[in-house]
């Protein structure tokens, strides 16, 4: 029989709150340590206990960090979804299932399907730790997978030991349960499918990390000292990770914190705190998701107009409204570009990888202080909450760009200081920090009309000058944003554009299509630099791949880089699952 080695997909269907996440992580980590190119994604419900949840693992020689549309192996532990799950599996696939809670009718089983019934409840009786039975049952399928597809026994055991560290009771209980699964599979399952894991070496120098943790670490290294946040999925773990890092790495010798982390009463308040702290001179940030940005809109306009450095990390989820809070989308692109009433425009960064989460988070604070304005760090649930395999993080000695700040000595040197005087003609003015002990150090910050000297005014001329200068500042920002990353031949005439998590399936699409006439730019920031225009210009046709319904980035490109609209088209997926190369390839081919 043919073998399919390290190139297939597994779906594990369970009930949330039953502890399957722990088993799934053991499975995933074991593959990682075996050097298998693995990608794991969680599809979980907006619920604490009792609703369906899926974990998908895809292995590929290239280690792609995105899924296939179809799975090859389904491990069905949830009786509620089992029938839908099997219906979505193709003929010839493998079905392992909890055979004492799930009974399939004959007509549900498609031709060529390999069935592995696992009597989970029966086996559970063998578990000695009665209290944790519900949890430990999930180890059975790990054991079965180990036997059927070839997980390295000692690696799995090592992963379990590392997971539970010094908690010997937990280690023992898990190993016992694993063994029950292993033993059962050895005795009862005959391997008739083609899928196998084999040890490889694609994970050398790599780590497994969630984007939210990486962004939190970046914020730590970026010099963030004030975090104000309000819990909301999928951003909470970013704040919580940062608090963890703060507690660990940001205490002074007396055990006092060189940071402030405040859980605010809502998003309006966290935005206010960030702006208050930014105004006072701290590197401050908040973490939130779509509903939070909506609520922060008024404050964002204040920060834009009064020019207060402030960092907003938006871990996007499916909108509108509460939408699908535990699913992923890139649906706040337009909102964040123009958040708040009146004429406003905001800087955005779009990380795609764990390393970029780490590095761009640092850069976010530099940009916020350099341009004295809100900066949006635009990530999403997929990047933020899934476990990604990426290269190790690298340390660079931080050098903060605190922007144009005049201290006491600085003030002594300048003759005529006005908070909003455009001395350098780049639209960026000099500020002072509250408390600066100098007779001309103070100025008054307001969201209402102000002149170059921060005085209240309703003069149309002063207002217009100020608004024009803000535009000039944005133009300056254009030149200093991270450039797009281009792949493909310069002479290619078909362009793809994507950003954030869409990058991974686009890369895979390109690998597959091997079409020399297709090139690709991954956007990393807004405002768009000249490189973006040059890229678009050089194409006959440009497809913007996005995870939203309305082609928001396409709209933004059209209005901000005018003149190329006729070339632009969209490839849109917005179902809330991570985007796949299958979808992009199919859609793109349909359009070519």
């Amino acid at each position: 029989m043919d073998k399919i080695v390290n190139d297939f997909s597994i779906r594990v269907a369970t009930v949330n709150g039953t502890g399957s996440q722990s088993s799934n992580n053991i499975l995933f980590k074991s593959l990682f340590r075996m050097g298998v190119g693995a990608c794991g994604k969680n599809m979980f419900p907006s619920n604490i206990q009792g609703l369906p949840t899926w974990f998908q693992i895809r292995v590929s020689p290239q280690g792609y960090q995105c899924l296939r549309e179809n799975d090859d192996i389904a491990i069905l532990m949830n009786a509620v979804t089992a029938h839908d799950d099997i219906a979505s599996m193709r003929p010839g696939t493998t079905i392992m299932y909890s055979s004492d809670t799930i009974k399939f009718r004959d007509d549900e089983i498609k031709p060529g399907m390999v069935m592995y019934p696992l009597p989970v409840e029966e086996l559970a009786k063998k578990i000695t730790n009665v209290k944790l039975k519900q949890l430990l049952k999930n180890l059975f399928y790990v054991g079965a997978v180990q036997v059927l597809y070839g997980l390295d026994e000692s690696i799995v055991e090592g992963v379990i030991r590392d997971t539970f560290k010094s908690k010997q009771a937990a280690i023992d209980a898990n190993l016992e349960a694993l063994k029950i699964g292993v033993d059962y599979a050895k005795e009862h399952f005959k391997k008739t499918d083609k899928f196998v894991f084999e040890k490889g070496n694609v994970n050398n120098g790599k780590i497994i990390m969630e984007g939210n943790a990486a962004a939190a670490l970046g914020s730590l290294y970026g010099g963030c000292t004030v975090l104000a946040w309000y819990p909301i999925t999928p951003s909470s773990s970013l704040a919580e990770s940062l608090i963890g890092y703060f507690e660990k790495y940001r205490k002074d010798k007396d055990g006092k914190g060189k940071y402030a982390a405040i859980q605010a009463e809502d998003e309006l308040s966290s935005a206010g705190m960030v702006i208050g702290a930014g105004w006072a001179g701290a590197r401050s940030m908040t973490t939130t998701s779509g509903p939070g940005i909506s609520l922060m809109s008024e404050f964002i306009g204040l920060a834009y107009y009064a020019e207060v450095p402030s960092v907003f990390m938006n871990v996007q989820r499916v909108g509108p409204s509460t939408g699908l809070p535990t699913r992923t989308q890139q649906c706040d692109t337009l909102l964040c570009a123009f958040a708040s009433h009146g004429d406003t425009k905001h800087i955005m960064l779009f990380p795609s990888t764990i390393n970029e989460c780490f590095e761009m988070a640092q850069e976010t604070f530099n940009l916020a202080e350099r341009f004295q304005t809100p900066v949006f760090f635009m990530t999403d649930l997929d990047l933020g909450m899934n476990n990604w395999v990426d290269k190790e993080l690298t340390y660079t000695k931080p050098k903060y760009d605190r922007g144009k700040v005049l201290d006491k000595e600085g003030l002594d040197k300048v003759k005529d200081w006005g908070r909003y005087l455009d001395v350098d003609k780049d639209g960026i003015c000099y500020r002072t920090l509250p408390g600066t002990d100098h007779p001309k150090g103070a100025y008054f910050t307001r969201g209402s009309g102000h002149d170059e000297y921060a005085r209240y005014t309703e003069s149309p001329l002063a207002y217009t000058r100020n608004m024009d200068r803000l535009n000039r500042k944005f133009d300056t920002a254009k030149k200093e944003m991270p450039k797009g990353i281009v792949r493909g031949e310069a002479g290619a005439k078909i362009g793809l554009i994507a950003y954030g998590t869409s990058d991974h399936p686009v890369q895979e699409t390109l690998d597959r299509m091997k079409n020399p006439n297709i090139k690709y730019m991954r956007l990393r920031a807004f405002p768009f630099g000249e490189d973006v225009e040059a890229f678009i210009k050089s194409c006959d046709k440009v497809f913007i791949v996005e995870q939203n319904r309305d082609g928001q980035m396409r709209q933004l490109l059209e209005t901000q880089i005018r003149g190329y609209q006729d070339k632009m088209d969209s490839i849109l997926y917005y179902g809330g699952f991570p985007l796949s190369a299958d979808f992009i390839e199919r859609t793109l081919k349909g359009k070519l």
């Binding site: 730590l220 060189k258 308040s269 702006i275 008024e298 340390y395 408390g435």
Partner: protein
């Protein structure tokens, strides 16, 4: 807030000329603020002044030009002040708000700021109305009082002091913009308190006065038969001033001929008991006699920066050397994420 007396002039504490209506109670409060800071000798450059939106919220422009000010957005001063205060715990922080700003749109933030015991003085310039938007009722308007349009307020008044006490504020006082002496005494105490000091100061709006008993609102204009719906004319009014003794009850005539009854707390009133303070406030609402003075005081609860255990160097002045965790944590993390 432990500044020692320095050789500052009174003029070091002044600000831009007020653009409020002549006789507005808010200006009296501004003057009391200036005097209090002056008497305490606080370094004017160290003071940060924050506010929301409203006539009251304009006042930070009218004092201490030498300190940084932030006129933020409506009802959200508490969060901005909280952020500024943690970022630089060395700066004496004063927040000025109105009754609309605090009691209506800002109620949630106000109470959560109280709960956090942010180290700041929080002044509510309470006129029971929305001055800047021309006289609609605010949430502190008295039940039954009449507004510009003549309709009676059908909702009970929200008492900012009671709510602040119930939310955890550690210094809660009430005063009257006409009682300069009491205001200054309370302000000086407030500035010296570590934690939030809420001062609810009744501050009559001479233009849209809606206070209790102001069924005779706009008396002045009415007498003269000016059409009420076109009140674009604001008569210049005199500032009200009174001075009261402890325990005294006094009825004060406001600009519209209505009366406000104040009772200064007795010397032997004990502000240390929450339950008692709340009882007193509710009795005072029921009897329409506003008790003024320090209603509640709890000096021992830690302020927000202490709660957060923030280091003594202001966060804003920490530099790379102090903030960079160095390469080790990354190396360790890299190793652990395999």
């Amino acid at each position: 807030m432990s500044e020692t007396k320095l050789a500052y002039q009174k003029s070091d504490y002044t600000g831009k000329p007020s653009t409020l209506c002549k006789g507005c109670g808010h200006d009296s409060i501004t003057n009391a603020i200036i005097e209090s800071y002056f008497q305490l000798g606080v370094n004017p450059s160290s003071v940060i002044k924050l506010s929301g939106i409203g006539c009251s919220s304009k006042t930070p422009t009218y004092f201490i030009d030498k300190g940084h000010g932030f006129n933020s957005v409506h009802g959200r001063m508490p969060s901005v002040a909280t952020g500024a205060n943690v970022a630089n715990l060395k700066l004496p922080t004063i927040g000025i708000s109105g009754d609309g700003d605090t009691g209506s749109i800002g109620l949630g933030q106000f109470l959560h700021c109280a709960r956090r015991n942010v180290d700041m003085v929080y002044i509510i310039e309470n006129n029971g109305t929305y001055g800047l938007t021309k006289g609609q009722f605010s949430a502190t308007a008295d039940l039954g009082s009449k507004a510009k349009r003549g309709a009676a307020n059908p909702y009970p008044t929200l008492d900012a002091c009671a709510l602040a006490i119930d939310s955890g504020a550690t210094f809660v006082a009430r005063s009257f913009s006409g009682d300069r002496k009491q205001m200054i005494a309370l302000m000086k105490a407030a500035f010296s308190h570590k934690g939030i000091a809420v001062l609810d100061i009744i501050s009559p709006c001479v233009t849209f006065n809606n206070h209790e008993g102001s069924t005779k609102s706009y008396l002045f204009a009415k007498e003269n038969d000016v059409p009420l719906h076109e009140l674009n004319y604001v008569p210049e009014a005199e500032t009200i001033e009174v001075e009261m003794k402890e325990g005294e009850v006094r009825s004060i005539e406001l600009h519209d001929g209505s009366h406000l009854t104040l009772k200064k707390l007795d010397k032997d009133y004990n502000p240390g008991d929450k339950g008692e303070a709340l009882k007193l406030i509710n009795e005072s609402i029921a009897s329409k006699t506003l008790a003024t003075g320090l209603l509640y005081y709890q000096p021992d609860f830690p302020d927000h920066n202490t709660i957060l255990n923030i280091c003594s160097t202001p966060l804003v002045y920490l530099n790379e050397a102090e903030l960079d965790p160095g390469p080790d944590p990354i190396a360790k993390l890299n190793a652990s994420m395999k």
